[in-house]
Every structure is written in structure tokens, then in C-alpha cells.
Amino acid sequence: MSAALTLEGVHTHIGRYHILQGVDFDAPAGLTTMLLGRNGAGKTTTLRTIMGLWRASEGRIALGATPLQNLPASDVARLGVAYAPETMAVFSDLSVKENLVLGARDAPLDDARLQWIFGFFPALKKFWLSRAGALSGGQKQMLSIARAIVEPRELLMIDEPTKGLAPAIVGALIACLNEIKATGVTILMVEQNFRVAREVGDEVRVMDNGRIVHHGPMAELAADGSLQNRLLGLSLDSHQ
């Protein structure tokens, strides 16, 4: 079973802007925690801060008992954190295979694991040796996620995976995520699409203005329409 992620009093400044203003939450071990909120609430900044791409100016971040704050991104990754960013960040000039090789780091590509991934994302097999830049947006998103799961990790951080994806692919993604959840990995996911969030998430944390304004089981939020409206407001309608 993977470790839990905890954040205590995390502040992040970007230049002059104070984006994270004291973020406190935990993503329980082995569960999928959804991070929701309006645009600009600080969700992506939170993920990047955990990843070490941006330095927290204050606060503690820990994966299990291991502190993560102030570590460079490469160290955070080697502690078992995988990150599929909002921008997908696939290496366009490299092939699909090469992208996954990089994701696997020191381990060779595991055949069984790859077959499992191809089960959800057949396009990756089809374009195995093709330049990743030639893939469509949806396929690139698949590649980004595949790269994050090509080896088992302690914590998976995924930023808006369904953005701009066709419904059929969203379906494949949900199936994939559910199977990954079954392996007991801790997942922290930012997602604007509430339907997806509801299906995949065990826990939910809602952010606004750089702070967590709600936390609790997903089932609870899913059942309470007025709470959804209050916390997520218009974003609920615009992402179906």
C-alpha cells in the first residue's frame, strides 16, 4: 500500500504573487483524492509545489514520513512521485517508446505492464515508434498518463487529464484509472469535470484563492447538490 500525502500550511509565491496561502490537506494512502476548484484557485500550483518544480516558501509537505518540501523535482520523483502535468509535456521529437523509456527511469520496459497499458490506450501501440508530436491531443494525453504509470509509483499526480478529450477516450481513461486505483496507489488528481471526479474520486478537496475550503468523502459532496453549487458554482455546468 502506498503512502499518504500531507500538506501543512504550504505557501507558494511566484514572483510577486502569493498563490498558495496556507494549504492544508491530506491525500489518504491508497485512495484517490480529487482536487477541485475554480480556474486560478491554485490547483496546478499545488501539484507543482508538491513536485518540487516550484519551491514552497513556507510549510511542510510529506509523503508518508518523508518530507518533500525543498527537495529538487528529481529527488521528489525518485521518492516515487509520478506527475502527468496539465500541459501533458510529452517529448514531441521523441517516439512514444522513448517517452515511456524515460518514464520508466532505471527499470527496463515491462512487457506485461505495457500490454496492460495498451489495453486502455491502443493508439500507443499503433504509434509505438512514431514521433510523439504526430499524435493527436487525446493520444498525447494518453501518453502522458501512460508515462506516469509505466512503472508502479507511490503517488500519482494528474492534472486535468480529461480536458479537451472526446467522451470515448474519457471513458477509456476512467477505466484505466479505476484499474490503477485497484493497485493501491495514492492518487491526487485535479479535474474540472465533475462527472469524472465523482466516478473516480474517493475523497475530495476543494480549493479557492489558494486555500482548501472543503474536504471530505466524495460521496458526501456528490450527494449534496447545494453544496456543489456553493463550492464549485458555475464550473459545475460548464464541464459536462
Binding site: P72, S74, S92, D93, L94, E98, R105, L114, K126
Partner: protein
Amino acid sequence: MTALDAGQASPRRRAEILPALTPLIVALIAAPFIGSFSTFVTLTAAGLAMGMMIFTMASGLTLVFGMMDVLNFGHSAFIALGAYAATLVFAPLAGWSSADSVWANLAVFLLAVLAAAVVCGAAGWAFERLIVKPVYGQHLKQILATIGGAIIAEQLLYAIFGPAQIPLTLPRTFEGSFVFGEAAIEKYRVLATLVGLTVFFGEMLILNRTKIGLLIRAGVENREMVEALGYRVDRLFVMVFMAGSALAGLGGAMMALYRGQAHATIGGEFLVLCFIVIIIGGLGSVGGSFVASILVALIANYAGFLVPKLALVSNILAMVAVLLWRPRGLYPVSGR
């Protein structure tokens, strides 16, 4: 490896071949104006050899820039240092150079260029740690710091080696030319071309067939993501920097041999040319700088023959022309 490797070959868009053909196109355009076939052959051979030497100097620079956005003006110092390092080898081994033995000649040549590469690689490490590292990520400071470093380095070279040019004589075997009818191709130029091609294929092999090469290519595209995948990009960068400096030194040594003298001004002179080449080629692209080097050298040679007054600015004109056609260079790296 598994059956997975038996997948499709990477599709190459047709448009990608065109930039690589530009040197050929230029050669074809220039040919009728030059008239005489033998002159054309001589000029083209000279252009190829010069292009190879320039490529050797420039390829490291493009990777350094591509990976870390470091515009290294200090590159000129390594070109010059390589030239002087060659003199240090040739001085005690002058006997080997003037001997009648091909092996002795070859040995002193190889020793000289190897020495240049090693010395400059080490100097590159020092330069990166002392001058570049403290200003990572700060573009303006990094430009200024590397300029300062280049000035200091050039002055140190003058202080150590003296301000005068130091003569270098080509080993016996490489003097003179191969003569084909009326066309003469200097032997050294053939050697330079061979060395350049070796460097190119070596780089391509490393970049495309090794894990480190994979990391470098990925790092040129998106350094942050490589870091987020668990790799220490700064260590990678130091290696690339050292390799780039070593190659610059190698190129400098070869150029100095070609000219028959070593002097610190060679650095500044070829730095501008390197910049032009990597701009034309596309920042971060080794293949691009290979094509660009040949293109630039050919244009310079043809222009030198056809319109001598324009020869020295032909490079800049070529750069402007290419940028108007392809604003990001011949082979831009994705995501830049």
C-alpha cells in the same frame, strides 16, 4: 527487447527533407555562375571541409543553448584554447610532423586534436562551475557573465602564450592536394571533412542510441519535465557543456592547423559564425547545425569567388534569408 520494437517506422514528413537539401540547392544554383567544373569542385570541397570544422565548433553550442537556454559567449575561449593546445603538442613533436612517415604524421595530428579536446573539456567544466552555474536561469546575467568570462579567458591566453601568433605547420602527409585533372582538393580538407563527419555520426549515434542521448534530446525540448521524471538535469548539462567545449577545442585546433597559426582572435571570429550557424540550424538541433554549417561554408566560398565584396557578409545575408523563410531555423526543436 520485445516484439514491441517491430512496430512502425517513424513517419517522416516530406517537408522535413527540404531544409536538408538547401546546401545542395545552393550548390546547384552557384554551379552555372562558376562555370568551370574544376573550380566548382575545388570550391565545394573547400566549403565542405570548412563546414565540417565549423560544425565541430558549433554543435556543442546548440545543445548547450537548447538544454539550458544558456547563450554561451565564452565558447570563443574554447575555440582559441584548442588552437593553443595544439601548438603545445606540435612543439615537442615537431619531428613527427616533418617525418616522412604517414603514421607519425597521423599520430601527432591525432594527439594534437585529442589534447585540444581534453584540455577544453576540462576548461569547460571549470567555466561551467565558476561562471555559468551561479547565474542559471537569469538570461541577462548569463549573457553578461559569459562575455566577461570570454574576455578574461582571452586575456589569460595572451598572458600565457604571448600576444603574437604561434605558427603551426601541417604534418607532411597532409600538405598539398589531390589533383583530379584540373581540380585540386587539398589533402587537409579531406582530413577535416573526415573528422567532421566522424564527429557528426558520433554525436548522432550518442543522441539517438543511448539513454544519455535520449535525455539530452528530451532536455532540449522540456528540461523541467525531464527533471520531474527523476533525472538530474544539471548534471546532464555539465556533461553537455564539457562535450561542447571539447568539440569547440577540437574545431579550433583543426582550424588553426589549417591556417598555419594559432591566435586568440580565432575565438571571436568563429563565435559569430557559430551563432549564425546555430540560429540557421535551429537552436538545440545538432542535425540542423550540421546542415547549416555546410550551407554557410558553401555560400561563403561561392560568394568569395563570385562576389568577393559580399563574401564576408554572405553569412549574415544567409541567416536573414533563412529566418524570413523559417523563423525558428531549419530544424527547430519542438516546444521552443
